[in-house]
Symmetry: C2
């Protein structure tokens, strides 16, 4: 693969904007270590796109901030779906907000890119917990690389752990993949407050959405454990296969009872014995899964080498953008060998 | 690279024996997932070798146990150094006990293999904390792949984390890389016993050697942090550059004092601000580095995505053998692309 990689970014929200900043910040390092120059030739929004086949000037766009539509390169009323085939793209980076039931519009963008032999990096999980198999089948047929590390635990390596554990037999996975519900349970445990108060606090701090259903009822974590199990355990499931229970009925009394015996209640996402489960579970206080706050943690139970546990920040703009950039370098390294 | 990889194993101790078992156990999986068949054509010991150019029958050798010298394939008084060039080898796997001051005999084995364009996997750290640069220079010249994941934290991915964090700027590393000293400090903290009693207990349980100097005085962890920093932070240091302090002077009083303020004393290996340090440090009780027992933990502090922490078992035969096998598959995958 040539040194300069032509990319488009779909979605200029928080993650997309952080990515622009990181691409600029790491420009010299990427050239030095990986002989990689990222040419961003299009940034799509819902109502148009910034397009320059020679490569957009990122510092100029960043200076414009929310006024990016004033750039000379802004074109109104064009869509990613129409333009993906027309641009000379190597990689399509998808970061739009996704409808959790349909995976759209990300799903259509991903499919369109693959159909035109363009590699894909995606940060939203909808398409993958709904159509994992279909996306991979199409990608294999068209010899495309599809990467989506950010979908599971943001910057915490989970899907890419496959390459670190190539010969390990992984028996099961237990994880905390939703920072919002973990924050709420942590506060209920440390402060003795009830669920609704902890939720309100989380909302005030920006850790929980106005409608927190997807997080506290386990749907968010369920989507993530589907992707993780499919990728690492070679399963072939969708979110409909997950048994899901939320945390809204957990009482301070239940937490106290667990605590008095040296346990804590955590909202675990579990892949074991061919089953996917998201539900509150009692774990030992000393368990490596007992993390507090908004962190994510993933335990890979191996047959011959015990548990291997990785943790870090599971959300945030720079965090997700870091995961995307790691995927991008990884694609570049794979391509230069072929 | 062809499907069948010819390997030799140097050292049939605990790690080597576990590796033989894993190679047999995973035979079908390696073929299925990676199109990989491992042909082990020689197993070297200090006084001779088992050799069969067609591939040794591992189940037969394992049945012989310690009587492997009775095999028809045993040849006395031949050495790895002499025979490495004569065999048709793709990969040389080095697992001999290493002199910590010279890195021998592993260092000579590794160099001999590279000189004959044979890829190398090693499980002992001596050669790498002493001659990191020299080994890599020679390997680059001869287009050899040299892997040594097991040298730092056994089966816990540390060196290979480089490929998960390709675009992350890693600012510093803090780690617990010696299970013996961590076990001793954990017991002193939980039981209030003094250093010598905790050491005696660790020795009785087989966690500490009869001469525990390398572990408790920090030399073992120092070697590991050298390798980790050179690999992940692109440094170029040797063990002589590490400031090393052991744990033998830590008193139960010091531990109690820390505890009363919500802290614990841990024997940390640190790479930050261009300096390598192994010494007892006070960390917060809630720190992810506060692991107990013989586990290892590594915290990669990234510039843009916070800390990423990985933990697991840092020692053991199957654990090290798992790391070796992961390295082996990784070499196979790299080679088939070239």
């Amino acid at each position: 693969m040539k040194m300069k990689i032509n990319c488009c970014l779909i979605g200029k929200g928080n993650v997309g904007s952080c990515l622009l900043e990181l691409i600029e910040e790491k420009k010299e390092a990427l050239k030095h270590y990986y002989d990689l120059e990222i040419g961003l030739i299009a940034i799509f929004e819902f109502d148009g796109a910034l397009i320059n086949q020679e490569g957009l000037d990122l510092s100029e766009i960043r200076k414009l901030g929310k006024d990016f539509r004033e750039s000379q390169y802004w074109k109104s009323d064009i869509t990613a779906i129409d333009y993906i085939p027309k641009l000379n793209l190597d990689i399509c980076i998808e970061t739009t907000p996704t409808n959790p039931k349909t995976g759209e519009p990300a799903l259509s963008h991903i499919i369109k890119a693959i159909e035109h032999n363009i590699d894909v990096i995606a940060s939203n999980k909808g398409p993958f917990y709904l159509k994992y198999k279909e996306i991979h089948k199409l990608a294999n047929k068209n010899h495309c690389i599809v990467k989506y590390e950010a979908t599971v635990a943001s910057c915490v390596p989970t899907l890419s752990m496959k390459q670190n554990l190539l010969a390990n037999e992984i028996i099961s996975i237990r994880a905390i993949l939703n920072g919002t519900s973990n924050y709420i349970l942590s506060r209920m445990s440390s402060e003795g407050v009830d669920f609704s108060l902890a939720l309100k606090e989380a909302q005030e701090l920006g850790y929980a959405e106005a409608d927190p259903t997807l997080d506290i009822e386990g749907y968010d974590a369920a989507g993530k454990i589907v992707i993780l199990a499919n990728e690492i355990l070679h399963w072939d499931l969708t979110i409909d296969d997950v048994k899901i229970n939320g945390i809204s009925k957990i009482t301070p009394q239940a937490i106290d009872l667990a605590k008095s015996d040296g346990f804590v209640i955590k909202h675990l996402a579990i892949a074991e014995n061919n089953r996917l489960i998201v539900e509150p579970r009692i774990i030992e206080k000393d368990s490596p899964l007992n993390i507090s706050g908004t962190l994510n943690v993933i335990e890979f139970q191996t047959k011959r080498a015990g548990p291997i546990v990785i943790m870090g920040r599971g959300a945030g703009g720079y965090e997700a953008a870091s995961a995307i950039l790691n995927d991008l370098v990884s694609i570049k390294l794979s391509r230069q060998k072929t």
